[in-house]
């Protein structure tokens, strides 16, 4: 199917438009619209995933073997001495993002189902939700930095309003904190983006500009012509293409971010500083210590579907962004800072888990566990081994499913009693046996029990992180060993929570909650059961995902190691 990715990205937008156009009298249709449009998107994504050829080795630093590519010139302009720059409408999938697209489809669909019970201001809610869907999906398939940034920033607004209007008691604080925090991060990314596109040219368009036919010249010819000055560097076409940015041959000779140029700023190579900026930008989104403090607030205040989407997919934008931009574009800096990143990852794992141990609010606990689990992503990336990076991607995918489930579960109890304090419950297993089963599954999945997807992911990260020292030397082996502590702590906070809330004698703080405590409804099964199936499927049969990402990750690692 042509333009498949465009359909995937924009169907929710069409859904949003339909919601806006549907009069208030048909209010009940909004959620149907939301579910059907995300459902349709999911179907298309499944189609895309099945037609995705995992064996093709993508180029990472070029468009070779990019699949379902859509590229159209969006605009190109010349700005005086700034030279020509071109922005493309450029979508495509390779091993690095296909899994995220799949995850986005699943989580957004489940999130849409979770929106079922929204009562007030439905029109605004559902249209914002669908807008959010479009921007998230766009983020994962956009390969033009401008387009990526558009979607990346555009996630903030719907999220801001969704938390700020439909959230809990401190929603305004949380919403503003979320917004400002992530904006600060994205400004850092913007800074680097400006630097990048000013340093990178598009060889193909440059050739066009110079009147050279691509039939006669290969890209490398053009690159060497630029390097040798046969094409003047003011004549090149600057590019927002993220894949071109990853190819060090595409850097304009002498530009600030040119690897051979190595301009310095405050005594540090600019490439390193740019890498750090982009790292912080995405680490905020991820979130990693010490940039995580917006997350607990946002999660606690966000309504359930939003928590699901936030933890399930929005955080992954941070990880994916790191892979696609920071790592692919600055492999040398990534290697230089591997120790730092690995350490942050390790520290986040333990710090998040320790914090979770002390939380009294169920949602906060899950939020901190997210911090802990996203630490694995950083650790895996820092390792710069194929196991580590696969693990990082797998962890993002798996955490997307598991944390969605965890937040749905927290939502179930909150829906019934409007209270999330762990200490206010005891022995719920008597009253809500089926719910307890799902909680148990979710908790065990999250603490990395084999058979669930989280285990595979964490195992890969450990293997990759440990291997790093002897293969590439990015991070020392002890980081992996120390990080395993996270597993024990995870077992600690989940099991204690489980024990306090569900085991022992039945007890709740308020008598009036008792009649409200009914077991799962069909609607809740509808969300939880597919998640359980997916979590187990990806835990037992990792090839489901690995076949999609393997060649991409391999190529990515080759790209990294070639540039160190």
């Amino acid at each position: 199917m042509e333009h498949l990715l465009s359909y995937i990205v924009f169907i929710p937008l069409v859904g949003a438009a339909l919601v806006l156009l549907t009069p208030k009298a048909y209010e009940h249709l909004y959620r149907v619209l939301a579910i059907s449009s995300t459902g349709l998107t999911l179907l298309l994504i499944l189609f895309a995933v099945t037609s995705f050829n995992g064996a093709l080795v993508p180029e990472i630093s070029g468009e070779g073997n990019l699949q379902m590519m859509e590229k159209a010139s969006w605009f190109s302009l010349k700005l005086g001495s700034l030279g020509a720059l071109s922005v493309d409408y450029f979508l495509g999938v390779d091993g690095l993002n296909i899994s995220m697209v799949l995850l986005a489809g699943i989580v957004l669909f489940i999130g849409a189902i979770a929106c079922w019970n929204i009562k007030e201001k439905k029109k605004a809610y559902f249209s914002l939700y669908l807008l959010l869907c479009t921007s998230v999906l766009g983020c994962f398939v956009a390969l033009d930095f401008f387009l990526f940034y558009l979607f990346f920033e555009f996630m903030l607004l719907p999220m801001y309003f969704l938390i700020g209007i439909w959230g809990g008691p401190r929603r305004e604080y949380a919403a503003i904190k979320f917004f400002l925090y992530t904006l600060a991060g994205s400004i850092l990314i913007l800074i680097v983006m400006i630097g990048l596109y000013n340093s990178v040219y598009d060889p193909i368009k440059t050739a066009e500009m110079a009147g050279l036919s691509m039939a006669e010249y290969a890209i490398s010819d053009i690159q060497s012509m630029v390097l040798e000055g046969q094409i003047d560097k003011t004549e090149v076409v600057k590019s927002f293409n993220m894949l071109h940015m990853a190819d060090s041959a595409n850097y304009i000779p002498g530009s600030l971010l040119d690897k051979s140029g190595l301009g310095t700023l405050f005594g540090q190579p600019i490439r390193w500083i740019a890498f750090l900026a982009i790292l912080i930008g995405f680490a905020i989104k991820l979130p990693a210590f010490p940039f995580h403090t917006w997350l607990p607030d946002a999660h606690v205040e966000a309504p359930t579907p939003l928590s699901v989407v936030l933890a399930g997919i929005l955080l992954k934008v941070g990880g994916y962004g790191l892979i696609r931009t920071a790592y692919a574009m600055f492999p040398d800096a990534a290697f230089h800072y591997a120790w730092l990143i690995g350490f942050i990852g390790m520290f986040s794992i333990i710090y998040g888990a320790m914090n979770a141990l002390a939380q009294k609010d169920l949602k906060k606990l899950i939020a901190f566990s997210s911090v802990s689990h996203m630490g694995f992503v950083l650790l895996g990336l820092a390792a710069m081994t194929s196991e580590g990076v696969s693990g990082a991607i797998y962890q993002m995918f798996s955490h997307g499913l598991i944390s969605s489930m965890l937040f749905l579960i927290a939502g179930v109890i909150y829906d019934r009693t409007h209270d999330r304090m762990i200490e206010n419950y005891g022995g719920l297993a008597h009253q809500l046996p089926k719910y307890t089963v799902f909680v148990g599954i979710a908790f065990f999945a999250s603490l990395g029990l084999p058979g669930f997807s989280g285990f595979i992911a964490e195992l890969f990260v450990f293997l990759g992180a440990f291997k790093s020292a002897s293969v590439i030397g990015a991070i020392p082996a002890w980081m992996a060993v120390v990080s395993t502590l996270g597993l024990v702590l995870a077992a600690g906070y989940y099991l204690w929570t489980f024990q306090k809330m569900f085991l022992g004698k039945f007890w709740v703080k308020e008598k009036k909650w008792v009649p409200a405590l009914k077991d799962l409804t069909i609607h809740e099964y509808l969300m939880l059961v597919p998640l359980v199936i997916l979590i187990i499927a990806f835990g037992v049969y990792p090839s489901l995902l690995l076949d999609l990402i393997n060649s991409g990750v391999e190529s990515f690692i080759d790209h990294l190691t070639a540039s160190i």
């Binding site: 710090y351 141990l357 450990f462 293997l463 440990f466 291997k467 395993t484 600690g492 099991l495 022992g504």
Partner: protein, 710 residues
């Protein structure tokens, strides 16, 4: 050069369905039993029985010719992950034992759990356990062993916490799981080390590559091909020892070794048949089984650690078992102690002896637990309608041999095996261990005699606590009526029915020597023949001296001494127990009133070296305090810092406003003051004053000019 991919290339076999059946049947039981309501026990027992038949069939087919089956699981980067089954005598024996014990426990539980409303759940959990245990046994891939290792942990968690309305049960379940997890960290670290070095976790691959690895300049190096590409793996040689120790950590958790053994006594919160199956016979032995699987990969240092840990555990737990009141606690400590023996055996290189003890222990300890279960179950019946009491407390027992003769028989037989008296299975296996230990200590010398001393002391202790238990439970008079003041109780107490006694008796029969060979010399047992100690595969400079290299004569020379000493020691233990706990003895008389043991040693014993409170107070509290501190830090420092940044914005906003307006004032006032001297100005100037604004602007401009020009 060997290509890794060749080693782990898929191997198929027509018997794959049979092996899969061993896994699928129990998990099928897990999946379906929950819906069976009242029929659950029969349903699941039937499934396990068929599983046992499958295992038996496979054992007959593959006893002499091990079977390897391998298939691809997934590919991660260039690394092929495989699943592989390996059916050798060890695996077959284990699968037989697991299924056999499981079957008997199922049968036993049918009666034991008859009145429990949640018994479908119970039997389902048992199915899950059998499934995971079979996984550990059958798979020949460390990753899969680890996976099922964890699943076993979960089923243990579920079963310990089966009566989750009891807070103590749920806490015990947590404790078991978390302490096991701590051990598993080591396991994972071991996996990391092996994977990094060998790019595979398949045991065949690991072993073949381990043979090829060498120590060069203190580095552990191995060269091999992987899919046509040459790989040179190299890391510091110390990782080799670390890897072994790390993997052993997993066993420390699962097999309840020092310092993680504290979960096992608590795990007695679970139903007694579960204790028999999981926490005595099979699951806790998985650690030893795993050690056997990786035995050849351990280097001298790792083995020393294993031996020392085993000896210390054996001794500590035996001490702890001396003074317990709870019959299951005694058995639990005894289990820990016996597991210590097995681990010690592995550590000294007594592979066959260790596994032999694993097998004998599985039977006699299961028998002990089931017998104890009968006692508890029957005493529990007395509780109905009457006053509540703790049916596991030996203080309420006494003189039960008359009321429960079959149980008494089973219990005593199994106890004799446990104490290691000739004619019983425990004697054979313990003797084999002690012999190898003695040889090992002689080779090593020096401080390595300590494990030997500890092990021999444990023999005395074992006999002592075993017979103390027998005296307290079965001899003397029934103490419960006195405590409750109800004289009719003895008449109500009845022997358990066939559902429960038959399994116990079967185990008792298996605790004699004859199932393992009509001999008093362990070496002549078919088990020792079947499970031959393999050679170490680690590079020579790191390898321990294998007992296989020790001349036969050394063993012969020591054999008699060891035999006699151990028998004497066991008898000594028995004698002391008789002295102190025979009916009418001083200790026996006061036993009933005692709240806790007397004396420092008694306390140490009773509180198990205070290990629990040590962990509670030092580690747990520290961790919780730290986590609270971190949470506080997160909320009040980190978050505040961010808020502070926001507030700083506000402050800057104020400052700039001040700059904009108030500063104007100040500056203007200042000017006013200076100008005032000239004469004109006396009045104060207020903010919002246009002149002041002009002035300030002007001053700004001047400052800027000065700054730049100067």
């Amino acid at each position: 050069m060997i290509d890794l991919l060749d080693i782990i290339s898929p191997q198929s076999s027509a018997y794959l369905p049979w092996i899969l059946a061993l896994l699928i049947l129990p998990i099928f039981s897990f999946a379906t039993t929950g819906f069976m309501k009242g029929k659950a026990p029969y349903w699941s027992s039937a499934i396990i029985a068929s599983n046992l038949l499958v295992a038996a069939y496979l054992a007959t087919v593959f006893w002499n010719e091990p079977l390897t089956i391998r298939g691809n699981w997934f590919k991660l980067g260039e690394n092929q992950f495989t699943y592989s089954f390996y059916l050798d005598k060890l695996a077959l024996t284990m699968s037989l034992i697991v299924n056999f014990v499981a079957l008997l426990v199922h049968i036993f539980s049918t009666e034991y759990m008859r009145t429990d409303a949640n018994k479908p759940r119970y039997f389902a959990y048992l199915g899950l356990f059998t499934f995971s245990m079979m996984g550990i046994v059958l798979f020949n891939d460390l990753l899969f062993i680890f996976i099922f290792w964890e699943l076993v942990g979960v089923s243990s968690y579920l079963l310990i916490g089966f009566w989750f309305q009891k807070k103590s049960a749920s806490l015990a379940a947590n404790k078991a799981f978390i302490l096991n997890r701590i051990g598993d960290l080591g396991f994972i670290t071991g996996l990391m080390i092996l994977f990094t070095q060998f790019h595979s976790l398949d045991l065949d691959a690991v072993k073949s590559l381990m043979i090829m690895s060498e120590i060069e300049d203190g580095n552990w190096v191995v060269n091999f091909m992987q899919g046509g590409k040459e790989v040179i793996s190299s890391m510091d040689g110390r990782w080799l020892s670390a890897g072994g120790i790390a993997l052993f950590c997993g066993a420390v958790g699962k097999s309840a070794q020092f310092p993680l053994q504290v979960w096992l006594p608590d795990a007695m919160e679970g139903p007694t048949p579960v204790s028999a199956l999981i926490h005595a016979a099979t699951m806790v032995a998985a650690g030893v089984y795993m050690l056997a699987r990786i035995f050849v990969l351990l280097d001298a240092q790792a083995l020393e650690v294993v031996a020392i840990v085993g000896a210390v555990t054996a001794f500590m737990a035996a001490i702890a078992a001396l003074s317990q009141f709870d019959i299951k606690k005694v058995l639990a400590y005894s289990t820990i102690s016996q597991l210590g023996y097995m681990v010690l055996a592995m550590g000294v290189g007594a592979y066959s002896a260790g596994l032999f003890h694993l097998i004998t222990h599985a039977f006699f300890k299961a028998g002990l637990f089931l017998s104890a279960g009968i006692i508890i179950h029957q005493l529990h019946h007395l509780e109905k309608g009457g006053k509540k009491f703790d049916p596991q407390d030996m203080r309420v027992m006494g003189g039960l041999r008359r009321k429960l003769p079959v149980t008494f028989f089973a219990f005593v037989i199994c106890s004799l095996a446990l104490a290691g008296l000739p004619g019983f299975s425990g004697f054979l296996s313990k003797d084999a261990i002690l012999l190898d230990l003695a040889v090992w200590a002689d080779i090593k010398g020096g401080g390595f005699y300590i494990p030997e001393v500890l092990a021999f002391m444990t023999v005395v202790l074992t006999a002592f606590y075993t017979f103390r238990m027998i005296y307290l439970v079965f001899f003397g008079e029934f103490r419960l009526p006195k405590i409750l003041g109800d004289a009719s109780l003895p008449n109500k107490l009845k022997e358990g029915n066939l559902w429960v006694t038959v399994p116990a008796v079967i185990f008792a029969l298996l605790s004699f020597t004859f199932p393992f060979g009509f001999t008093l010399n362990a070496d002549h047992s078919w088990v020792m023949e079947a499970l031959k100690t393999p050679m170490y595969l680690v590079p020579e400079s790191y390898a321990a001296t294998s007992l296989l290299d020790v001349p036969e004569e050394t063993f012969h020379g020591l054999h008699k001494t060891v035999n006699i000493v151990s028998i004497l020691l066991a008898l000594a233990g028995l004698f002391i127990a008789w002295l102190s706990y025979k009916p009418g003895a001083k200790l026996e008389k006061t036993f009933i009133e005692r709240r806790e043991p007397v004396g420092v040693l008694g306390q140490i014993s009773f509180y198990h070296w205070y290990q629990n409170s040590l962990y509670q107070n030092i580690f747990l509290k520290a961790i919780l305090a730290k986590s609270r501190a971190l949470a506080w830090f997160d909320q009040y420092v980190l978050d505040e810092a961010v808020n502070l940044l926001a507030k700083l914005n506000v402050v800057i906003a104020h400052v700039t406003r001040w700059f904009d307006q108030v500063f104007v004032d100040g500056l203007v006032n200042l000017t006013a003051a200076s100008v005032g001297k000239v004469g004109q100005l006396t009045r104060s100037i207020q903010s919002g004053n246009i002149q002041a604004q002009i002035l300030v602007t002007f001053i700004f401009l001047l400052t800027l000019i000065l700054l730049l020009v100067v």
